[in-house]
């Protein structure tokens, strides 16, 4: 092959330049969100290595190819074939062994990072995460008086162990700033460890297709100072017995996931908004009209699907509330608190006058 050494020398320089340019462009276009967890540190280091490797390998192949397109273009009158070079065993061995060594080393490094970001931490606080179509609910086993919350509030710099359950189908917990992710699987408890390191507001978005409103299965995540967290705990743990039925209704609506589909402020969601519906005349899908009264609401909750408002589909309104309410009421009865969940909900709904 003619002038091979000269061609290779030029290409070597171009590959070096190409690597730098590619790395610069790559890291400008491919930005990660702000790193807000201790897990993000090692993960972002690994990303950094990958970007460097990608830059080099991309430049290597692309420079060789583009150089060839220009330098080895067939001249218009050249009918001759190219040089009969069909193999080079030492080269084949080198470009098999070197990548093999690199990927093994990469795998070992990644294993250490994986252990680091998933192993149990001293003093980690358990947080129970419940996912259901299409809402998140969070509760704090160490603070049983704190009722289930629609927002995940956590103190900064404290390791947390999320213990996650799904009520129905697969879901997945993902806050991009925290980097880590884990599915919620019906029938098992999955664990995700996070140590938030930056105070701020984030969002957890479901990352496993879970049906109709997967798009909107989003919850607020607040990382606050330890002092603010302690205050929040106090604010949240009002005894249930001291609340009015309407106030309890607010809690039940979150705890049982009603807010996944029904808004209190008129916002259009998968189910009718509760704002101002009590006492209204409503048309149903079967053409009949009904007054939204105590009986209708009770029936809608306990026998979903039997009376659907026109313009809405009968999609996966959860059944089994009768049993779930009874179980929760029994739980509270053991603490000496008597409530009727359905009455509280109806009281709350009827209080949402326009």
């Amino acid at each position: 092959m003619k002038n091979n050494g000269r061609h290779l020398a030029i290409v070597a320089v171009l590959v070096a330049i190409g690597t730098v340019i590619t790395y610069y462009v790559l890291t400008a276009v491919y930005r990660l969100p702000v790193a807000a967890s201790s897990q993000a540190g090692p993960i972002d280091n690994l990303f950094g290595f990958h970007f460097m490797a990608i830059s080099f390998l991309f430049a290597l192949i692309m420079v060789f190819l583009f150089y060839s397109f220009i330098a080895f273009r067939r001249k218009p009158d050249d009918e001759e074939e190219g040089p009969h070079v069909h193999s080079n065993t030492p080269l084949e061995i080198i470009w098999t062994i070197i990548p093999l060594v690199v990927v093994i080393a990469l795998g070992i490094w990644a294993t250490f990072i994986l252990i680091d970001i998933t192993e149990a931490q001293d003093g980690e606080m358990p947080v129970a995460v419940k996912g259901q179509q299409w809402a998140w609910t969070f509760s704090y086993p160490d603070y049983p008086d704190v009722g289930p919350s629609a927002r995940l509030v956590l103190p900064v710099d404290k390791p947390v162990r999320l213990e996650m359950k799904s009520e129905d189908v697969l879901h997945s917990f993902w806050v991009p700033e925290f980097r880590v992710k884990q599915d919620l699987v019906p029938g098992q408890v999955t664990i995700l460890r996070i140590t938030p390191t930056k105070i701020g507001s984030y969002k957890v978005r479901c990352a496993e297709i879970c049906g109709f409103d997967h798009t909107h299965m989003v919850a607020e995540v607040e990382i606050v100072s330890q002092a603010d967290f302690d205050q929040w705990l106090v604010d949240q743990s009002s005894s249930i017995a001291q609340l009015s039925p309407e106030e309890r209704g607010v809690k039940w609506a979150t705890e049982f996931g009603c807010t996944a589909c029904h808004s209190a402020d008129g916002a259009e969601m998968a189910g009718p908004s509760w704002l101002g519906i009590f006492g209204k005349e409503e048309s149903l899908t079967d053409g009949s009209t009904v007054t939204v009264d105590h009986a209708y609401i009770s029936n809608s909750i306990l026998d979903p699907g039997s009376q659907i408002v026109a313009g809405f589909e009968n999609i996966a309104m959860i059944t089994g509330f009768e049993e779930r309410f009874a179980a929760r009421e029994a739980e509270l009865l053991e603490q000496g608190i008597e409530v009727e969940i359905i009455e509280d909900l109806i009281a709350y709904i009827s209080s949402l006058a326009e």
Binding site: K2, V29, Y30, R31, L32, P42, H50, I54, L57, F58, I61, F64, L65, S68, F72, R73, R74, E80, E81, G82, P83, H84, V85, H86, S87, N88, L91, E92, W95, T96, L100, V103, L106, G107, A110, T111, L114, V169, L170, W174, P176, R179, V180, K181, Q182, V185, P186, G187, A207, E208, I209, C210, G211, F212, D213, H214, T215, A270, E313, A316
Partner: protein, 627 residues
């Protein structure tokens, strides 16, 4: 002499129409599905009773499939021979009917079947692309503009499986058309099974289409329980059954390919003298014949859980993760089915347009086999965050990283092939080079997903969407188009329009780069996959806009290609027998290829890629004049 009246012309049209296997088959399908559905759902519902729709779809779809094949004529020869009659293999166009009708009926010639597969693949590709355009339009701006969540979910779910079917059809088309020609055979080992393999894909496609119009489904193309086992959307049952049936096409087709390759090669064609494309097809077929069965069982379990109430996947007795293991045990290896033939096309064409041997032929051939084998060990990388046992993460990570080695061998070998060659850049070569650049992007964005800590932020994000579109376009779509342009003159005897071909490339390649790189950017920033809308606070609207535009440009470029090929087949310039001056034996035949391929058995007396070596013929076949 009778004059031709409108009436006789109309009658003749009807006779021809109903002679077509396609028409008869669709009628059979419609009868099967509507008969069962009418009996099992229509009647109970009209009486105010509850109907088991899932069972009706399962049984109706199966009956529709069987009747389609029966009415089209796929089973005719087999049924006759089962009753003891001699059934000679019919060759050539049908008697008493126009020759073009053979493409719409059961024909046993591998070249006809290859064309049937290929044309169907392009039609299905265009439809799948349309579905993507529809949901990409919704994603161009934040906010829900014109689709609701059910419609959106259906569009991406259908897009996924329909594209997969299109790829399997295209792979089947390339393998069927090319392999017998390349190895010096006059047809596949089992021509009737070959016809079956094509025709059984048709009811699958029809079921998927029906699934969309009966209301769709919301599970993506992966169909995970417990959403797939509980969703009220009946389209899911059509999807599961259609996916299941396409498996028969894969299994039957791959058996045929393997037997053909192992038993029908020309004398002198040892395995390492086969054209390199055959190695890619071989590796793909080894995967298809082995792995397809596991996804079939996964789909069957969901189908019967829905239809009969069996519990395979609902906790506590059932386990949703069982499905994922069964599903991915096939669905990872199948991506190598998608790309190994296309990577074989790249290896096949580079020597011709570099006028230089394929560098490291043996290593490239064995790398396809290595990818196929290692590809069976990596499925868990789709499940790193699934809730499977943590002890599984590291082994799957290491195995996944290992796939990079044989893949790297291919890239380095391609680079060494063009190095110091004498390069020309007609359309097929452009698509091959585009394929390499795009597959490079796909391949380089793989290891970042192989290492578990970096997979965690990226799983189920748009990074994944960018990665797999790059690997699919680089390993299949670009090489498939390269193959269409390259072998078009051999199949039709005419040349496609080179300017339109170049226009197709220069629209599609930059647009694809923008699309794929854009998808990965927004995924990294927090854009999930399978969602109908996104938070404006993510700051990704501009990239979303670009991705949609890029998709539209790609779609238009494929339409340009379709127009080019259809028009050129009719009225393109005559191409001569070997416009590319290839050494491969199919190019020593006339164009278009005669009905029975090789009049005399070609003998192989050298190596396929000895460009640049004097007096080193590959075959004893004299090159046809009229070059």
């Amino acid at each position: 002499m009778k004059t031709e009246t409108i009436w006789t012309r109309f009658l003749r049209f009807i006779v021809i129409l109903f002679s077509l296997g396609l028409v008869r088959g669709i009628i059979g399908f419609a009868i099967g599905v509507s008969l069962v559905y009418g009996l099992m759902v229509g009647i109970p519902i009209s009486q105010g009773q509850v109907a088991n729709k899932d069972l009706a779809v399962l049984l109706g779809g199966l009956l529709g499939t069987i009747l389609l094949l029966l009415f089209a004529g796929v089973f005719t020869d087999w049924i006759r021979s089962m009753s003891g009659k001699k059934v000679p293999l019919r060759h050539g166009p049908p008697e008493h009917l126009p020759a073009w009708t053979r493409y719409f009926s059961v024909d046993y010639n591998h070249k006809v079947i290859g064309v049937q597969y290929t044309v169907t693949a392009v039609i299905v590709l265009l439809f799948g692309g349309l579905l993507a355009i529809l949901f990409r339009l919704e994603l161009t701006y934040p906010g829900m503009q014109y689709l609701n969540q059910d419609q959106y979910n259906t569009l991406f779910s259908a897009h996924g499986i329909i594209m997969i079917v299109s790829i399997l059809l295209g792979v089947g088309g390339m393998i069927n058309y090319l392999v017998p020609l390349m190895i010096g055979a006059n047809d596949m080992a089992y021509p009737r099974l070959n016809a079956f393999s094509f025709w059984v894909a048709l009811p699958a496609a029809l079921l998927l289409f029906l699934g969309i119009i009966v209301g769709g489904w919301d599970t993506g193309w992966v169909g995970y329980p417990t959403l797939s086992t509980t969703t009220q959307l009946i389209g899911v049952q059509f999807f599961l059954l259609g996916f299941y049936i396409v498996g028969f096409s894969s299994i039957a087709g791959s058996i045929n390919m393997l037997v053909t390759t192992f038993t029908m090669r020309a004398p002198g064609m040892g395995l390492f003298r086969m054209p390199i494309f055959v190695w890619g097809a071989l590796a793909a077929s080894l995967i298809q014949v082995t792995a397809t069965q596991t996804v079939s069982i996964a789909l069957l379990l969901v189908l019967t859980q829905r239809a009969f109430g069996f519990n395979f996947f609902t906790p506590p007795e059932g386990d949703p993760l069982l499905y994922q293991h069964l599903f991915w045990f096939y669905s990872h290896p199948v991506v190598y089915v998608f790309v190994l033939p296309g990577l074989g096309v790249i290896s096949e064409l580079l020597p011709v347009f570099s006028r230089k041997p394929l560098f490291g032929y043996k290593w490239i051939a064995l790398s396809s086999i290595a990818i196929a084998l290692v590809g069976f060990l990596v499925w868990g990388h789709h499940m790193f965050v699934s809730g499977m046992d943590n002890s599984l993460r590291v082994p799957f990570m290491m195995a996944t990283l290992l796939v990079a080695i044989p893949t790297g061998v291919k890239f380095f070998s391609w680079t060494a092939t063009v190095w110091q060659g004498k390069l020309t850049f007609p359309t097929p070569m452009l698509f091959v080079l585009g394929a390499i650049s795009v597959f490079l992007i796909g391949g380089l964005t793989g290891p970042i997903l192989a290492t578990v800590p970096t997979d965690m932020p990226l799983h189920d994000s748009y990074w994944i969407v960018g990665h797999f579109h790059a690997t699919m376009f680089g390993g299949y779509v670009f090489p498939f188009f390269a193959a269409l342009y390259y072998w078009f003159p051999k199949a039709t005897g005419r040349m496609y329009n080179e300017r339109l071909g170049k226009l197709h490339f220069w629209l599609m390649a930059p647009a694809f780069w923008v699309m794929s790189l854009g998808q990965m950017r927004i995924g990294l920033l927090g854009m999930r996959r399978r969602i109908a809308d996104y938070d404006p606070a993510l700051g990704i609207q501009n990239t979303q806009f670009l991705i949609t535009i890029a998709g539209l440009v790609i779609g238009w470029s494929v339409l340009i290609m379709s127009y080019n090929l259809v028009r050129s087949a009719r009225s393109g310039v005559l191409a001569g027998n070997n416009p590319w001056r290839s050494r491969s034996i199919e190019w020593q035949l006339p164009s278009p290829v005669p009905e029975g391929n090789y009049e005399q058995q070609p003998v192989i007396i050298g190596n396929p890629y000895d460009y640049g070596l004097a007096d080193a013929p590959y075959t004893n076949l004299a090159p046809i004049s009229g070059d």
